[in-house]
Amino acid sequence: MNTTQTCEQKSFTLPIGPVHVALEEPMYFRLELDGERVRHVDITSGHVHRGMEALAAKRNFFQNVVLTERVCSLCSNSHPLTYCMAVETLTGIKVPPRAQYLRVMAEEIKRIASNLFNVGIMAHVIGYKSLFMHVMEVRELMQDIKEYIFGNRMDLAANCIGGVKYDMDEELREYADKNLEQVAMHLREIIDIYRHDPMIRARTQGVGVLPVLEAERLGLVGPVARGSGIRLDVRRDAPYAAYADLDFQVITESGGDVHARAMVRLREAGEGIGIVRQILRKLPEGERSAPLQHVPAGEAVARSEAPRGELFYYLRSDGSDVPLRLKWRVPSYMNWEALPVMMKDCAVADVTLIVNSIDPCVSCTER
């Protein structure tokens, strides 16, 4: 730590990270402090770069479905889904309606669990451990659904090129319905607590404020943008899979602070429950995947709304069974840029809380 004495005031340079800032993911922050206040933030990333885009150009189209699922554990379903959508666009495969609905179901189940996880960690960061444990316990109901329907707690392995690998039956439907009912009940309570609890409000309201104009300037996406009142959601703006047939609200909050972003995530989890319930009710019969076809030479893009915001895939093929180039842009990439704005003049004690509020995903930013 460098200390420079200027008259009465002390300026520090405080390194935070690269390990365990809010969660066990490495990111290095170099904070210029003025006493208790943060004046300047430098972010250094790249500690867990795994070269996945290069790996993707060495694997065939089937293998890449599984590779992309390993980009990020919390958005693990969005990556293979978007990748498959890009391959299907290039090939001209028409995904059957049942598969479209099952794809959305997997997406929303992951979204609910991911959002609960993030707001749970928020309680952990502010030291409200019992609430943290409770939210994680509720998320555990979602984990049970994943394990019961898909066979794994994180990597659902739901998608394949042309459709999905899993199917629903009456027993699974009942199981999901029963668990979702409980989650919905708990979620109502949790939303009430997060909205009104004086301790949570004191720590999160007015902290890490992101003005709308800044959010637009930085091109932010997902719950971070929606927390600042920007109505931006790929599911509604460019509906894919079965989203056009389903009823849901695009949740926005106007506060632009840590609290608003948490509320967006919680309310979105509620919308997610609504979407899954609609699917359980009106899942169409039929095939769960379309026949495979040769992937021609050419380019394609696809985008989707991952739990953290817009996810974008670019694919180029030369007609062989290995893609020439697979490139993705992840929501966290833009959202990192919001941190210097949010942290300007904040207290040192709020740094971790603000970092957590963009729901950062290092493993997909650096892939």
């Binding site: 694997r59 065939n60 089937f62 293998q63 890449n64 479905v65 599984v66 590779l67 699922e69 390993r70 019992s130 609430l131 409770h134 316990e137 555990e140 394990e147 019961y148 329907i149 898909f150 066979g151 794994n152 990597d155 392995a157 394949c160 690998k165 899993y166 699974l172 309570e189 009430d192 607590i193 009104h196 609890d197 004086p198 301790m199």
Partner: protein
């Protein structure tokens, strides 16, 4: 705070939610994706599973005496993605509910699903052929008059000959087309 105290009290009454494992069996859902298992009586040796396997966990290799092939799945390389099960045309390869993967370092080379699948001999010329399970043959030839039970015992060459002979017979026995 009082809002949360209500929840806290309820959770206290509910007791711990952790499982007693390893002192008690943990609940495993029926669709759990655990260790890969393979049924050598069903495999047709098409190799689709090795093609789609992302980790390269599956290896198929002809035996030294060329009487069949070894089929191996390395559990430590497997990502439990279920692609092999999804694409296997005869559902010979599948995922079990067994998630007990902890083992000593010294046992790592034994963490494998290992099978030997023997070739059949062509009933006409004796050449080695990969097996075609009767159920799959019945599916493939469901729209044809061919008897799947005989055809699955022939190598591709003898199958061609048999087909040519049969077609020839059909043509000879049917009346010649009338010239207008």
């Amino acid at each position: 705070m009082p809002r949360f105290l209500k929840i806290l009290a309820r959770n206290l009454l509910k007791g711990p939610s952790t499982e007693a494992f390893p002192f008690k069996e943990a609940f495993t859902p029926p669709r759990y994706r655990g260790k890969v298992v393979m049924n050598p009586n069903l495999c047709v040796g098409c190799g689709i599973c090795t093609h789609v396997c992302p980790g390269g966990a599956i290896m198929m290799k002809e035996s030294e005496d060329q009487n069949g092939y070894y089929f191996m799945v390395w559990h430590n390389t497997c990502a439990f993605c279920g692609s092999c099960r999804h694409y296997c045309p005869v559902k010979a390869i599948s995922l079990s509910q067994d998630w007990h993967n902890a083992h000593y370092q010294s046992e790592k080379y034994r963490m494998v699903e290992h099978h030997f699948v023997p070739y059949l001999h062509c009933s006409s010329c004796g050449a080695h052929i990969r097996r075609l399970p009767p159920a799959l043959a019945a599916r493939i030839y469901s729209h044809s008059s061919v008897d799947p039970a005989t055809i699955i015992r022939l190598c591709p060459d003898c199958r061609q000959l048999a087909t040519a002979k049969r077609e020839g017979e059909v043509h000879e026995s049917s009346p010649a087309p009338q010239q207008p």
